[in-house]
């Protein structure tokens, strides 16, 4: 009986999906960002401005966030339906509070964390950080991974002086030589280049994925409520987002223009550069092997192992498979 009603619901949902294109009112979806608008999020703005959501019968409202954990809290508390954020933050949120949120599509198949330094500095590789001063944002998700990454490279984390500061002070401190390196996501590189240029310096990026850091990063998520109550709407959101990412990867400048059209404060040129720097995180050997958006079980497990180790959780504290819902991928 239950099965039959489920089939019925699916048929009904499919019918509704067809209907939504023409006659039905658009489905309203609140889309939670993990930070203020920026170039790395160009694809999401393209999805709205290019009408990819509209074509799926969706009316999407964007809501800016203040960090991955903030975005996940908004999803868990029901003030947003879908969102983006680091999957490591989701893993922590579920391990700590059983947050009712699932990852539904991977965006970055590589971790975006990196060490930023200036060209010509004494830091040429990760081993050179011994005895140096490195600054990081106080609430950065990279902070937990940092000591684990160093240990796996045979470096004592205590041999590096780590300063925790407000994120807005990182680039100026690096430019003024107050610190030897900073910890950032590689997607913010273009902004740092602009600041460093004012001090006559050039940016050098050492991605942690070159030093053994493996796993999924930025991901699309949905609340359990959305997954249970409106699965077919969610499927269309994912479909539109896939289209939007394809579009943005093929036309970064046009996607940045879409962002600029909706957020006038944006510097379109810098936004395009930021999106370009995120493309290798989306399209790489991992996505070539498994396909874009996929959560491949082994890499998902590796991602969890990194998080577990950095948060001092027992590895069996949770099964990473319970954090993802793959049904919404095309």
């Amino acid at each position: 009986m239950k099965k039959m009603s489920k089939t019925l619901a699916h048929t009904l949902a499919a019918l509704l999906a067809c209907g939504a294109m023409s006659v039905h009112a658009a489905d309203k979806v609140v889309f939670q960002l993990d930070w203020v608008p920026g170039g790395d999020k160009s694809a999401i703005y393209a999805a709205i401005n290019q009408g990819f959501f509209k074509a799926e019968g969706l009316e999407v409202t964007l809501q800016s966030g203040r960090g991955s954990s903030d975005a996940i809290t908004k999803l868990a508390s029901g003030s947003a339906d879908v969102g983006v954020g680091g999957i490591a933050a989701l893993m922590t949120a579920v391990a700590e509070n059983k947050a009712p949120v699932k990852a539904i599509m991977s965006i970055y198949a590589k971790e975006p964390d990196a060490l930023f330094t200036v060209k010509g500095s004494s830091i040429k590789g990760i081993k050179d950080v011994v005895g140096k001063t490195v600054a990081t944002a106080t609430f950065s998700s990279s902070n937990a991974l940092w000591p684990v990454m160093l240990k796996r490279q045979g470096i004592d984390p205590d041999s590096v002086k780590l300063l925790k500061v407000d994120p807005t002070t990182l680039a100026p401190m690096l430019a003024q030589g107050k610190v030897d390196a900073t910890i950032n996501w590689i997607t913010v590189g273009p902004g740092y280049e602009a600041v460093l240029a004012q001090a006559g310096k050039t940016l050098e990026i050492l991605p942690w994925s070159n030093y053994g850091l493996d796993g999924y990063g930025w991901s699309m998520m949905a609340s359990d409520k959305m997954i249970q109550e409106r699965p077919e709407v969610l499927k269309r959101v994912v479909k539109a987002m896939r289209k939007a990412f394809d579009y943005a990867i093929a036309n970064p400048d046009a996607a940045a223009a879409d962002l600029k059209a909706m957020v006038p404060e944006i510097d379109a040129k810098k936004a395009a550069a930021e999106f370009r720097s995120s493309i290798p995180l989306i399209q790489n050997e991992v996505s070539a092997k498994d396909g874009i958006g996929v959560f491949e079980p082994v890499l998902l497990k590796t991602t969890w192992e990194w998080v577990a180790q950095s948060m001092n959780y027992p590895v069996d504290k949770l099964d990473p498979e319970t954090l993802v819902d793959r049904r919404f991928l095309p």
């Binding site: 809501q63 800016s64 994120p167 100026p172 740092y192 004012q198 404060e265």
Partner: protein, 258 residues
């Protein structure tokens, strides 16, 4: 000589302001201070053209709207609370600890919780603004209402004046100067409250713009937004001063002309 002094008196604040701006600009140029440390006034002015005037107005109105609504709610809450506190010792002993708890809680720290509880709309922003602005209003009004000389209260009671007449005709006039001082403090707090709220959750507004600009290293734009915010606070403060002068000129007392 007299006229010179008169002019000096009149233009000294303006001259000081221009002097500081010039010194600031000169320091930035002379020591080649990079914009990410301290942008020169000229760079701040130039940054205002990065977005259109319409967008600036949109940001400004969003913040002013939240500040004013929060301010009005704070007034509507504070006045009855102050009357209750003056009216009954029991209520005063029950309510005051709560007011002090609310006031001594860093609203900045609990703002994200308020947003999560109340959703991402306008409501949490108004609540945050109200929480930050209402305390001085309650305390000042209560102090004012209690500052009436006992003889006057005894006189009104001996003439069998009703409680509402006691409040409106005897206590209120004594409280008005206190209330207006608190209104002036609270309007600047309301602007700060609106900005705090926008830091936590907003898509538009000067607080949002400052957060956006600093997180994308557009420091000159952040300074421009800050300047607009300060100007807005000064203007709102001026409006309260003007309102006091027009509505209750007698309450100005010795501070008249300020």
């Amino acid at each position: 000589m007299g006229t010179l002094k008169h002019y000096a008196d009149r233009f000294a604040p303006l001259l000081a302001f221009v002097g500081v701006l010039l010194a600031w600009e000169a320091a930035c140029r002379l020591f080649a201070i990079p914009a990410f440390v301290l942008p020169a006034p000229s760079a701040v002015i130039a940054s205002t053209t990065e977005i259109g005037a319409g967008r600036w107005v949109q940001h400004l109105l969003a913040t002013v709207q939240i500040a004013l609504i929060g301010y009005l709610v704070a007034i509507l809450l504070a006045l009855p609370l102050a009357v209750m506190i003056t009216h009954s010792r029991l209520l005063s002993r029950t309510l005051l600890p709560w007011l002090i708890i609310i006031q001594s809680t860093p609203i900045v720290a609990i703002a994200p919780i308020i947003v999560v509880t109340l959703g991402a709309g306008m409501l949490p922003r108004v609540v945050i603004t109200t929480l930050i602005a209402f305390f001085p209003l309650v305390i000042a009004t209560a102090t004012g209402l209690a500052s009436v000389p006992d003889e006057l209260l005894e006189l009104s009671r001996s003439l069998r004046a009703s409680r509402s007449r006691e409040y409106w005709q005897i206590r209120m006039p004594y409280a008005v100067p206190h209330i207006f001082s608190a209104l002036k403090v609270a309007i600047t707090l309301a602007v700060i409250g609106a900005v705090v709220a926008e830091f936590v959750a907003a898509e538009v507004g000067l607080g949002y713009l400052i957060l956006f600009a600093t997180s994308t290293f557009k420091v000159p734009m952040a300074f421009a937004a800050l300047t607009l915010l300060v100007a807005c606070s000064l203007l709102l403060y001026g409006v309260i001063v003007l309102a006091q002068r027009l509505l209750c000129p007698w309450s100005l007392g010795k501070e008249a002309g300020q």
